[in-house]
Subunit: 257 residues, 2 copies
């Protein structure tokens, strides 16, 4: 299995604190040694850093930890391979363009038979069930909405329906970003919290690192963090309900149905 | 205008020597301060590093220079903005997936009116004429070949035809990679060379750096480098003819028509 980390904010925010905790699980405090990746949105652009090496041994991961990229949407993944060999093209997050926007996707779990589900123009480059599922979702979304729907809810409803269909084929914990919203589907394990004023101290579980967010935020900042397992031991993480999806925009949870 | 650098090889090869020369033109020996980017193919995967900062001031560029990524196909670009503001989404190379393969594209020049050319599902994320041209090419290729053609020449012929059509709309020096072949279209300026045994010393023009390729290659290595202007002053660069395209595979030029 793998571990997921997502962040959605109302202002560009530095992910390094949370990333520093998660990456430890890529070989030190966790067994997820089969690569890692992170996608940062920056305006309409998106940067992706990936490596098939264990997170704790990756020079690129060191760069990400030392380089203050600020982003309103981030998706990160550390991999324990269960389907598809360890190589760059099988490393999450996967990205595609639709409607002139970057879409990024990461998945934890395993899906049965999904690689025989029919696809359209979006095709997997690697051999994971995850990338196949992502291509299938994009095809379904594009068929229903050749152009982006004006009502956000119409898109959220469709993503929730598609995630539910995939969840019925196995384990499907998912983070999906369409450049604006972060869609989080919980099949078995996802936890989340929203940080806002008054900000306080947070202490990582996986490495000796604390930060006082009051020092690095303004009172208007709203930052939500979503992860497979809580990353800090002194904050009130909430457990997502199985079979539910949450949508985050501007740092705020928009639905827990 | 901008500058381009491409590499195509029969074995995974380190691009850092050539990159170290080109990146100097991103603010020190050249005026291309409006961002830079590089795409490295690794197996079926592709890593892209980009920055809207000048190459000589970019921490990510320092990482690329200090990190030995070996690749059989590389496309690199340093930007002097003429169309579209300076931001991540306007930074080359642009990438898309088609037929389950990564495609990467970089362009030097300016195209008149191309942003009104009709597109299909591939849409630009940024606002450059270059990305629009790339999306237009992909749409044309997909329409003619919904699945990859079995004859390589059929695809090369189509790419050459499309590049010629774009070239008629302005200046169109292009590097395009379909994960296997590197297509190089010369509208005004492109130079190239192929390094093979017996390897010798090469000396960069833009910074004091030499390398003896005999020390870092095997006798079977074949490496072609394509650039807007020659990067070394002691090797026999060839000037590409205007209006022609060359295709490189496994380090070897496959056609200069």
């Amino acid at each position: 299995m793998c571990e997921l980390l997502g962040m959605n904010c109302n202002v560009p925010t530095d992910i390094r604190f949370s990333f520093s905790g998660l990456i430890q699980r890529g070989g030190r405090t966790g067994p997820h040694r089969d690569g890692w990746g992170i996608a940062f949105y920056e305006g309409r652009g998106c940067r992706t850093f990936q490596d098939p090496l264990p997170g704790v041994a990756s020079e690129v991961a060191q760069l990400v930890q030392s380089h203050a990229v600020k982003s309103r949407n981030v998706i990160c993944h550390i991999r324990k391979a269960t389907n598809g060999r360890v190589c760059l093209e099988n490393t999450h997050p996967f990205t595609r363009e639709m409607w002139g926007r970057h879409w990024a996707f990461a998945h934890n779990g395993r899906l049965k038979g999904v690689k025989s589900w029919p696809l359209g123009p979006y095709r997997p480059i690697g051999t994971t069930d995850s990338e196949h599922a992502f291509c299938w979702m994009l095809e379904q979304i594009r068929r229903r909405f050749p152009e982006p729907p004006t009502r956000e809810k119409a898109l959220s409803d469709l993503v929730r329906e598609l995630a539910g269909t995939l969840g019925a084929a196995g384990t499907f914990n998912m983070l999906l970003c369409d450049s604006r919203r972060l869609y989080c589907y919980c099949s078995t394990h996802l936890s989340w919290l929203t940080r806002r004023a008054p900000f306080g101290e947070a202490r990582l579980i996986d490495t000796e690192l604390s930060v006082d967010f009051a020092d690095v935020t303004t009172p208007r900042d709203v930052v939500s963090v979503i992860a497979t397992r809580p990353l800090t031991d002194n904050e009130a993480w909430q457990t997502m309900e199985r079979g539910k999806m949450m949508v985050f925009r501007n740092g705020v949870a928009r639905g827990g149905r």
